[in-house]
């Protein structure tokens, strides 16, 4: 799964100037991170257009679906498309760019992998929860989870979902100019 996200700004890292005092709050908030040879790098927002490429393995998508089905996460069944949106929102974008910097998406999708899904999810129907003693994933939910995972989606479905999830306005296709119309004929 390959998601290319168009951005008008993005996060990058610069050494903190010598006159800057780094506080514990800065470290805790992730505004700085350790540099190579002591000191810190600070997160800066580069304000020019770029694109972010994210490559998501099928195992990662299934792992996200498993995570969302855990009792302490509320046992929320996710489709494959929703899981991809969650991966971008929770795992990827916090380190890459603020959602308001996103201007568009391009998606190259692979097919779901039923065999891998069953291999990864089935063990969680046998492992029990620490306190309740119940299976982490109810075995009776498996057919529903599998059906949600295997649901047919097109790259355009993913793009539409991501636009909605990140509240990104769709740029309408400009009307064809007379020259384009002439070529089309």
């Amino acid at each position: 799964m390959r998601v290319v996200t168009q951005l008008n700004s993005f996060y990058d890292w610069e050494p903190t100037p010598v006159d800057v005092k780094v506080t514990p709050q800065d470290i805790k908030a992730g505004r700085v991170k350790p540099s190579a040879n002591g000191g810190y790098l600070m997160r800066v927002t580069r304000k020019y257009p770029t694109e972010n490429t994210t490559l998501i393995s099928e195992k990662t998508i299934i792992q996200r679906i498993i995570h969302e089905m855990m009792p302490n996460q509320g046992c929320v069944p996710h489709t494959r498309m929703e899981a991809i949106g969650q991966i971008l929102a929770r795992q990827v974008m916090p380190d890459q760019a603020h959602p308001k910097y996103i201007t568009g998406f391009q998606v190259d999708d692979d097919d779901p992998d039923e065999k891998l899904f069953l291999t990864l999810v089935t063990p969680y129907t046998k492992v029990t929860h620490e306190q309740s003693g119940q299976p982490l994933i109810d075995p009776e939910d498996m057919p529903m989870l599998l059906a949600k995972y295997m649901g047919k989606t097109t790259p355009q479905n993913h793009i539409d979902h991501l636009h909605t999830k990140f509240s990104v306005k769709k740029v309408p296709t400009p009307p064809a100019t007379p020259e384009v119309k002439a070529v089309a004929k």
């Binding site: 991170k33 770029t50 195992k59």
Partner: protein, 285 residues
Amino acid sequence: MKKSALPQPKRSSARRTVAQAARDAAKKPSTTPIYACFRTDILAGKSKRTRKGIYRHNLTTTTASGYTNAYDWLAKAMGQGPSFAGTWARQSPTGVSATGCTGCPTTLPTAGQALAGSIVVCYGSTNNILVYGVIMSNTSSAIVVDQWYDATSTSGAQGTTPTGGTFYITVLPGQNPAAWMAVTSSSSPTTADTFLAGELAGVTGFSRAVGTYSHSAAASTYSLVHLWTAGATETINMEAQFGAANQPNTTPGAALGVMPFESSEPNPPTLVSGDTLQNTVTITI
């Protein structure tokens, strides 16, 4: 202009010459500007185990012997181009098994780190299968890979072993990327590590996995992220990145895949079944 009129550098007894500084630096391990920062978040719902981590500097494997050393991997990945190739790079071995190929008629290079870390593509004419493998070691006529990879799998799944008929292999310049992530309950990393001691593999939810790669064009970093959802109670003490899918042997020197970056947990989290550990690694280039 008189010499005394030129700006003179300030003299101080504390200042050293470049030669002195170079001699002092030679006594210490070298440091690399390319490094990783690890961050661990625990996602355990409303329990007290939930916590957001902070970035911490990695431990770069700089003194490990063999090709698992981060410096060697970085140099070969970034700089090893077509001059690496030779007449041996494309040939037809006589045998292919699940862990490599044998009977290469053109002598393979064996000096130094030889072909370790490079990618070999293999085709078998009988079952018409094309796969690739990460070279672990080689002799003058045989190559050992950690597994044959299904080139269509985004998760690095094991591919079908080619059968022949006739076999063809091509060894590519460069190195396989270190995109695999793993965790362990063991501790005490050192720069000489070649594998992650006690790597969690048989425990539900903790197997080695390909991280989610993300990079913004023109940014100075890229990141790898993975979620591990625990199927049993485990304390996570260390994480590391690898250049191959398979777990190493526990014998030093017999490691599978480069391990450039590892990091110990300052406050090792104990996960119970159902908890999730999110490990984010940002590599500064």
